[in-house]
Amino acid sequence: MFAEFGYGVLLVSLIVAIYSGISAVYGAKNKSAAMVESARRAMLLTFPLISIAAATLIYLLVNNHYEVAFVYEVTSRSMPTYLKVTAWWGGQAGSLVFWSWLLAVFTSAVTLRKWDRDIEFLPWVILVSAVTLTFFLGMSVFFENPFTRFWLVGGNVEPSMFAPANATVFTPQDGQGLNPLLRHPGMVIHPPMLYLGFVSYVIPYAFAMAALITGRTDDRWIRITRRWSLWAWLFLSFGLVLGGRWAYDVLGWGGYWGWDPVEIAAFMPWLTGTAFLHSVMIQEKRGLLKQWNMILVILTYALVIFGTFLTRSGVLSSVHAFANSPIGPFFMGFVSLTFITSIALVIWRWPQLQAETEMKSMLSREALFLLNNLLFMSILVVCFWGVIFPLISELFTGSKVTVGPPFYERATAPLFSSLLFLMAIAPLSAWGHSTLETLGKAIWKSAAAALVVTVVLYITYTQNIGALVGFFLVALVLFATLNEFWRGARARQKTQDENFFTSLTRLMGRNRRRYGGYIIHISMALMAIGILGIEIFQKETQGTLAAGEQLDISGYTIQYRELASWNDQGAGVNYTRAIVDVYENGVYLGQLNPRIDYYFDSQQNMTIPGQRSTLRDDLYILLVDWQPVSTIGATFKIYVNPLVNWLWIGSLLFLAGVIFAAWPDQDPAEESARRTVARDNRQTSAAD
């Protein structure tokens, strides 16, 4: 009953989405404002419709309706209600509905804006959204239906939407439940964050296509979607960081990123999105790179669809194949079709997308931004190559050859280092023209300070060349960027008669995007510290200890005290927890409790590390095994992960920076005044 209702609503949503797209095109072709308005309202209608379908699905999930195949697959009776709700995006069928729902939310929001000046964009924005929505709803309705039920037909159970002849509904006693490894707060919000990022990128893409179709190829589409792409970037970044944190907390190997194809699939749109974020600024300020921006936004959209497919479909679970899901070919078809159409549009409008000025100086801000784009693209190529290499090698040599994390680390390390270097010098260069001399003048103090830091580190901390180069670059970025804050605030203080902090806050408030960007640069440098720390200086040891015995690592002493094991029947879990005392150079620091949880229903262990986290390093203790009645007590694996906390601190600062940059300006009048000034500046092509 509920299942039929939910399916019916999904079907109606699909029809409404198709209608919306068709009437938008019809309205635009025949200059019928009424038809476009009808399309807009149809688009608005998809939001309540899909919400109802989603609510139905959540109702089924929460109320143990195991006759529904999706509910059976992703929930079980022992799961708490909030996990049953979040199971909505815990499997493929549900997450496709989730995707559609988010898209309906965003499209509704965007069609509700004031369109006065941009009314010619409206039908095409609706069309692009409607096509995307139709695709995802179509996948749900025809191939990955979350409302499919089990039927008992002649002694066999068959999944089907509608009752086969002579069938009765089959309701299993309990569901399979969510893998315990995924029952972690980070993992609960990691997929929706990624999806928020993925789906938000549809909006800039839709406006870009509208600009191409209407021929209004100035930077209007970029200005309208600037905040959208920032938020999209924020969610995508946050999703990636959460995934890393989850891996660090749960997977028990003291790592955070494994260059798994699925991770890379989510990372690739981030790379193009980051490049896009930078290169649109060149178009806004200098009228350059218009064609390139179009290509970037198209690539991002294609990678988003591709990423959705790879991250949720499980196609990569068998490691080297791309097509064992029924929806695989449709996704590939959809990505190819939209990609080819979009590129054809770009080629068609190529002459209108010519640059307004010419790039002159190799060291100008725009040239350095272009270099930044090339570096991001290079990392993208490395990632893409790594993912498809097994397929290529099999095609040409007949044997499957794969590349693992060492490939990515080796190939991207110089590229990331170059990006750090650019991050330090690009903000100091001028638009239009810079010379080595002006750049040198701006950077030499920061470079000298960074060199001092590096020498100090060489004497006191490490002689590893790679690490020292990394730390030098990090210090360079930090000094150069902080100096920008200092310089800007001092300059303002001189003219405005304010104290330093008033000047600094006002300066930042008036130039949100610039200073938000600088905060993000600082956060990247901090994250780089964490990555250098764990990649280069991670230490590990292991041992089996009897009660009272000790183990030493990097100045820490770990003493095993005791172990307890008990059942929690309600939650269906057995807990085994060790108590260890931690000393540093003889000083007692406290207790840690590494744990192993055993889930009865899925017969699976979950290893929870005992962690002690400081700015200098993380002590990370895993309980590996135990023998309750023997004198040999328990086995531990211990990691010391230096500096890794800076990775998480950097991530938090990063979020703050993006939110700062994307936050709506308080005074719209001031904002538009500033825009006019910016445009005048460009016309006179004065250096910033």
């Binding site: 195949a69 059976y72 697959e73 992703v74 499997g91 069928a93 089990f150 008992l152 002694g155 066999n156 159970v157 068959e158 999944p159 089959f170 299993p172 006693q173 399979q176 893998n179 490894l181 028990g252 190997w253 499980g314 679970s317 068998s318 490691v319 080297h320 097509a323 064992n324 010419e358 190799m362 040239a367 270099l371 190529v381 490395v382 190559w385 090698s393 044997s399 499957k400 050859v401 794969t402 590349v403 693992g404 060492p406 490939f407 990515y408 080796r410 190939a411 110089p414 590229l415 089996t544 017969q603 699976q604 262990n605 290893t607 590996v624 095994d625 135990w626 023998q627 086995t635 694996k637």
Partner: protein, 160 residues
């Protein structure tokens, strides 16, 4: 002249990236083999950096906590995805592999904490080297339990 300058810069970066990719590929490429393929290679596979996959045979799992040494056997599973699909999906193929005594098997040794996902009929994907004793010494051990999100018909079905 100006165009040349940018063109040269771009070409330089392109060359650098091509070099990076090519050299890194060469340095870290691993042959991906199934158990049958490994047996076929025989002694010529000894010492090479390899990636090996197969189905974990539950009865053979042994763990020595004092040395953190894990040993188990894996049974041959086809590396071809279409074949796996034709035989009823990964979970089914893994089940058959483990319960078929005629399948070729390889012994694996891995030193480290016992992974949570290690169980019978899990798919093991390992990087490491084949020793002269015919044992595969894994440096990295990745386990995949067939995804729960695939079309999963309740087990009660067969009892009814």
């Amino acid at each position: 002249m100006k165009i040349n300058k940018f063109f040269l810069g771009g070409a330089f970066i392109l060359a650098a990236v091509v070099y990076l990719i090519a050299s890194s590929t060469q340095a870290s490429a691993e042959y991906f083999l199934t158990v049958d393929e490994l047996k076929e290679e025989g002694a010529s596979a000894v010492g090479k950096s390899l990636r090996l996959s197969g189905a974990v045979v539950g009865d053979t799992i042994q763990y020595d906590p004092s040395t953190l040494t894990l040993t188990f056997e894996i049974a041959h599973v086809s590396g071809d995805n279409k074949e796996i699909e034709a035989q009823g999906g990964l979970a089914e193929v893994l089940y058959q592999a483990v319960n078929d005594p005629t399948r070729q098997r390889v012994q694996v040794v891995y030193v480290g904490p016992k992974p949570d996902l290690l169980r019978s009929e899990a798919q093991a994907i390992m990087t490491g080297k084949l020793g002269e004793d015919g044992i595969f010494y894994a440096e990295e051990l990745l386990l995949k339990c067939p995804t729960r999100y695939e079309e999963a018909v309740p087990e009660q079905a067969s009892n009814n």
